[in-house]
Each structure stands twice: as structure tokens, then as C-alpha cells.
């Protein structure tokens, strides 16, 4: 007699049943873990101190560059530039490397990274027990988009994601001297001469 062979249809049925069982098991494990650990913590946001392997970082400011900014002439009409300020604090007693490549922007949490277009830094080492603030610019499409900053901590396998929201973001907030804050364009370089 020829050896018995399971028909292909029966194999497919077993595979289906096994798959369903595996999914159910995985869902059960996830449910137990969720019940034990609670929901994942909310993503860090603008102005929030975020722990890293060397100290903390925070994205402190986000803005769209003003339409009058000369840099905009290099952009397509449907694009604009977004600028963020990042504060990095190294609490260690040794230097840690930094690079503009550590930072990227995402359209959506899982979106493809948008690389830095320009920044106030290239790369270097941040001395121990010091902090510094750096500026990064990205080219983004006009209009609302859910934006996230991704920061690559050298000691972590996955990037830290910071939620910026979808705007609208202030325009030109961090210009070196913002007359709009004063309403009357006051500057002590122009007034207040005296002893």
C-alpha cells in the first residue's frame, strides 16, 4: 500500500487552528501584562524633561519660520520650515558624544524620519556636568500634521519619541529679539540713556 499522505486541505486547517490559538495566547499574555503594568505612559511632550542614559533632554520650543524668512525662498510653495530647540543635560562626570544625526522629525509616530535640514551643531562631545541648547530645522509640508521628534540615545536601541502635536505652531517666536513681546518695540538700546 502506498503510504498515507495528509491531503493539503487538512494541513491548511491545522495551520489555521494553530495560528488562532497562538494569537489568542499572545493576546492573553498582552492582556495580563497590561493589567499588571497598566497602560503605557503617555509620550513625552514639549517642555517636558525626559530621562536619558546620560541625564535628561527636553524639546523646549517649536515654531514655524516666518514667511518673511529669507530661507523660505529655497522651499517649494507647499513646504515650510519647522524649528525646534533641544536642551541636553549631561549629569555624568564624563563627556558624552552628540550629533545632529541623533535628531529627526516624523510625520506621525511611526512615520518615516525627516532628516535635519540645518542645525546649530554638527557633532562633538558634551562635557560632564554641563548642559547646552541646540537648534534644529526641518522641511515639512504646510498644513497640520502630527509631528514627533525622535532622539537617538546612544545607549538605547529605540529612539525616544517626543510628541509635538499638530499645531498650529507659533511663528518666529525665538528670533533673537522679539518686539511683539513688548508691544511698543521697546529696546533699552534705544531708550534709557542716562547716568
Amino acid at each position: 500500500l502506498a503510504p498515507s499522505v495528509q491531503p493539503p486541505r487538512a494541513l491548511g486547517l491545522y495551520a489555521f487552528i494553530f495560528g488562532v490559538a497562538a494569537l489568542a495566547l499572545a493576546a492573553g499574555v498582552a492582556a495580563v501584562r497590561l493589567a499588571a503594568e497598566g497602560p503605557p505612559p503617555p509620550a513625552p511632550r514639549l517642555g517636558q524633561a525626559i530621562p536619558t542614559s546620560f541625564g535628561v533632554i527636553s524639546v523646549d520650543q517649536v515654531e514655524r519660520l516666518a514667511a518673511s524668512n529669507p530661507d523660505r525662498r529655497k522651499l517649494a510653495p507647499e513646504q515650510s520650515e519647522l524649528q525646534i530647540a533641544l536642551t541636553t543635560i549631561n549629569v555624568l562626570d564624563r563627556s558624552v558624544p552628540y550629533s545632529r544625526d541623533q535628531v529627526s522629525l516624523r510625520l506621525g509616530r511611526d512615520g518615516a524620519p525627516i532628516p535635519v535640514k540645518s542645525a546649530s551643531i554638527h557633532s562633538g562631545k558634551l562635557k560632564g556636568s554641563t548642559a547646552f541648547r541646540s537648534i534644529f530645522r526641518f522641511v515639512v509640508p504646510n498644513g497640520p500634521s502630527e509631528l514627533w521628534v525622535a532622539f537617538r540615545d546612544p545607549s538605547r536601541s529605540r529612539p525616544i519619541l517626543i510628541e509635538l502635536g499638530s499645531g498650529p505652531f507659533p511663528v518666529g517666536l525665538s528670533s533673537a529679539y522679539n518686539r511683539s513681546l513688548h508691544g511698543v518695540g521697546y529696546s533699552h538700546h534705544q531708550q534709557g540713556a542716562g547716568p
Binding site: T87, G128, S129, L181, G194
Partner: protein
């Protein structure tokens, strides 16, 4: 701003203070009492202080982890801490919370860090406040119960003047554990900064008064304080030599680029505004670590006391050998760490300015006051001008200069 209404409000405040309002009494169990020569009295000025910690938003939007003796409305540490005085929550613009000489004071201090830093002991003291007889510190460094139960410190207010209360540990003080106690003369009608005394300049009369607390904030220190308890493997202990402040504040705020809410706060507690001849007393203290150099545009100020003592002119006392006072008129002067300097801003006609002052065309004048130590004019390592900076307003029209200072 309506100067008249402000003065009316301030008068009501002073009247209430002179009436000797009884403050709330301590509640709950008291674990420990340190008492100096405080008199038994129902008219005690009682001030609660709570040692706590948390993030404080800096002028550039970043967060600095700090400690304070009070808590703000949004649950953050209050730096500087609450003033030691009556009715501190209802002080009108142009006035400060204060106690009067010899008044009994009771501080109820709790350590709110017991769950996070169980082994930390904080020692509370008031710098420069001495017993009038023994000349010893009224409140020598006194440990605050680490369990969180209240520690009571009682004393009778020292000589009229300006004092810094603080954690005796320099690092804790720089993390934010400091505040101010203003003492006014016992004479309830007095609008003078101190009681006349031999060897002191005749104290002038002032209209309004402000307290300016200078401070230097190092967020790296804050992070080390925050992480130290949980990740002893991570940060090295805080060493004073590593101090590198990134923010320089007056009463907790940075000037110029501060956003509107902070500017409103500064206008209330920092910015003098008035008409010609409105002598304004400014009590400047520096619980920070850096030496600062406040520089006034528009008017020189008269230095009345330095660390509660007669000031010097070129190293010599400001009273000549034959007893004549010498005006210590300065536009810039040093403020060393833990320094205390009371000055009178005279609000007189602006001198030597360009374009020249013309009474017929006088208008409102708007002047800066900034620290001359260059690093303090920035925030976050270089943002200018966002540091130890403020303004003062001399409202016109100006006329013949009145006599200032009584």
C-alpha cells in the same frame, strides 16, 4: 497704572498690619520645637514653610529641577520661598510682606521630601539676624524633622532690615531653598527702612518698597539632585566647583524675553513705577553663588545699608569724622553671594540724558536695570537679553524736582 489707587490699597494693607492681625495657629502634632527668646503672645506672626522639589519652567521653556520652601498654585516649588511676614498673600504692588521689630514670629517648617529623600537633613537658619544683646544668630542652623512632622522655630524679630532665610547647606540654598524676611521698625507709622541709630545714616522716608532676590540656576545640579536618590550609579554627587548657572533671575523671573505671564509677575513684584519724587526702597539680596552688579539707568540710587551696616565710600564709612553723612550715590555696585543691600531709588528728573530733558515736553520715562556681570544677561547659555534684567518707569509730566527721602 493708577498710582493713587495703589497707594490707597497699600495704606489699607499697612493699616491691617499695624492693627496686629492674629494669624492662624498651628494645627496638628508638633514634633519638635526650637525656641529662642520669643515672647509668649497671641499676636504671633506665623508662617508655614514646606520643603519641596519639582520642575520650574525657565524663561526659554526648558525645565530646571529645583527645591523651595513653598509651593506655587500649580504645585511647583516656589523660589524664592514665601516671605516671612503678615498677609503675604495679599500684598499690594509697591509693598512687601514684613514683620516689625521685636514682634514674635513662629515658623512652622515641614520636610515634604521625606518619601523621596528619607535620609536628608535640612538645617534652617536666617543669615544676619542676630539677637540685639548677645549678637548671636537668632536662628542658628536648626535641623528640620526629616519625618515630615512640623518643626517649630520661634523668635522675636531682629532689628529692622532685610534678611535671607535659607538652608544652611550651600548646595541646598542654591537649589532654591531660600527666601527673605523683611523687618520694619517697631514704630507703626514709620516708612523708614530702619530705626535711627548711632553710626548709621539717617534713614530716609520712602513711599514704596520692593524686594529683589537675585539667583543663579544650574539645571544640571537640579537633575543631579533629582536623580541622585534613585540612580546612585548615574550622577556624581554635586560638587560646588561644577556650578555653571544657565539662568539668572530676579524673584524667580528672567527679564526681557520672558513671556507675558512672567512679565506680569515681574511688573507686580519687581518693577518700580511712579511719579517724580516717589522715593522707592529696593531691598536687594543675593542668595545665589555669583557676584552680581546691579546697574540702574536713569537715576543713581542711594545705598543705605550693606549687610545691615553703614555703607562705605571708597573704603571709608559713609559718615565723616565730624559726623556729617556722605551720600553713597551709585549707578552700579557689587552684590556678593549672601549680600544684602538696601537702596533708595529717588525717582528724580533724569540727568545727563540725550536728548536733554525738557520739562515742557516731558513724558513717561522707561529705564532698564540690569546686572553688569555679562554672563547674567543671558538665558540657557546665550540667549540675550533674557537674564537678570528688569525695568523701572518714571511717569511724567515732570516738574521741579521735589525733595526726596524725608
Amino acid at each position: 497704572m493708577n498710582v493713587r489707587s495703589r497707594r490707597t490699597t497699600r495704606s489699607a494693607f499697612l493699616k491691617a498690619g499695624a492693627g496686629g492681625l492674629v494669624t492662624v495657629t498651628a494645627g496638628g502634632a508638633l514634633s519638635r520645637t526650637f525656641s529662642s527668646s520669643a515672647q509668649a503672645s497671641s499676636n504671633v506672626v506665623e508662617v508655614p514653610l514646606l520643603i519641596n522639589e519639582g520642575y520650574v519652567r525657565m524663561t526659554d521653556g526648558s525645565q530646571a529641577f529645583m527645591r523651595g520652601f513653598g509651593v506655587t498654585g500649580d504645585g511647583r516649588p516656589m523660589v524664592p520661598g514665601p516671605p516671612i511676614g503678615r498677609d503675604a498673600s495679599s500684598v499690594p504692588i509697591g509693598e512687601v510682606a514684613f514683620v516689625r521689630e521685636h514682634e514674635p514670629v513662629r515658623l512652622v517648617i515641614r520636610n515634604g521630601l521625606k518619601d523621596r529623600h528619607a535620609n536628608e537633613v535640612h538645617n534652617f537658619t536666617i543669615d544676619g539676624a542676630v539677637d540685639p544683646v548677645t549678637r548671636e544668630l537668632l536662628v542658628p542652623p536648626t535641623p528640620i524633622d526629616p519625618s515630615g512632622d512640623p518643626t517649630i522655630i520661634e523668635f522675636n524679630a531682629p532689628a529692622a532690615g532685610t534678611y535671607i532665610y535659607m538652608d544652611d547647606d550651600e548646595i541646598q540654598r542654591l537649589l532654591g531653598l531660600h527666601g527673605v524676611m523683611v523687618v520694619m521698625p517697631a514704630d507703626v507709622d514709620s516708612r523708614r527702612p530702619y530705626t535711627p541709630a548711632p553710626g548709621m545714616l539717617d534713614p530716609p522716608v520712602f513711599d514704596e518698597q520692593f524686594v529683589w532676590v537675585f539667583h543663579d540656576v544650574d539645571p544640571v545640579w537640579g537633575e543631579k539632585a533629582r536623580l541622585g536618590e534613585f540612580r546612585p550609579d548615574l550622577p556624581p554627587p554635586i560638587q560646588f566647583e561644577t556650578l555653571m548657572p544657565r539662568f539668572f533671575t530676579i524673584n524667580g523671573d528672567s527679564g526681557e524675553q520672558a513671556e507675558e505671564s512672567r512679565r506680569t509677575s515681574m511688573r507686580r513684584s519687581v518693577v518700580p513705577e511712579g511719579v517724580q519724587g516717589q522715593g522707592t526702597l529696593i531691598r536687594i539680596v543675593n542668595p545665589g553663588a555669583c557676584t552680581h552688579s546691579p546697574h540702574f539707568h536713569g537715576n543713581h540710587v542711594y545705598i543705605l545699608t550693606r549687610n545691615g551696616q553703614l555703607p562705605n565710600v571708597a573704603g571709608l564709612p559713609a559718615i565723616s569724622a565730624d559726623g556729617r553723612p556722605i551720600a553713597v550715590e551709585k549707578d552700579v555696585f557689587p552684590m556678593q553671594s549672601l549680600g544684602r543691600t538696601d537702596v533708595l531709588l529717588p525717582f528724580h528728573e533724569p540727568l545727563d540724558q540725550w536728548p536733554p530733558y525738557e520739562a515742557a515736553n516731558s513724558h513717561d520715562f522707561h529705564y532698564p536695570m540690569h546686572c553688569h556681570a555679562e554672563m547674567s544677561q543671558t538665558a540657557g547659555g546665550g540667549q540675550y537679553p533674557s537674564g537678570m534684567y528688569t525695568e523701572w518707569f518714571l511717569n511724567g509730566p515732570l516738574g521741579e524736582p521735589p525733595h526726596v527721602g524725608g
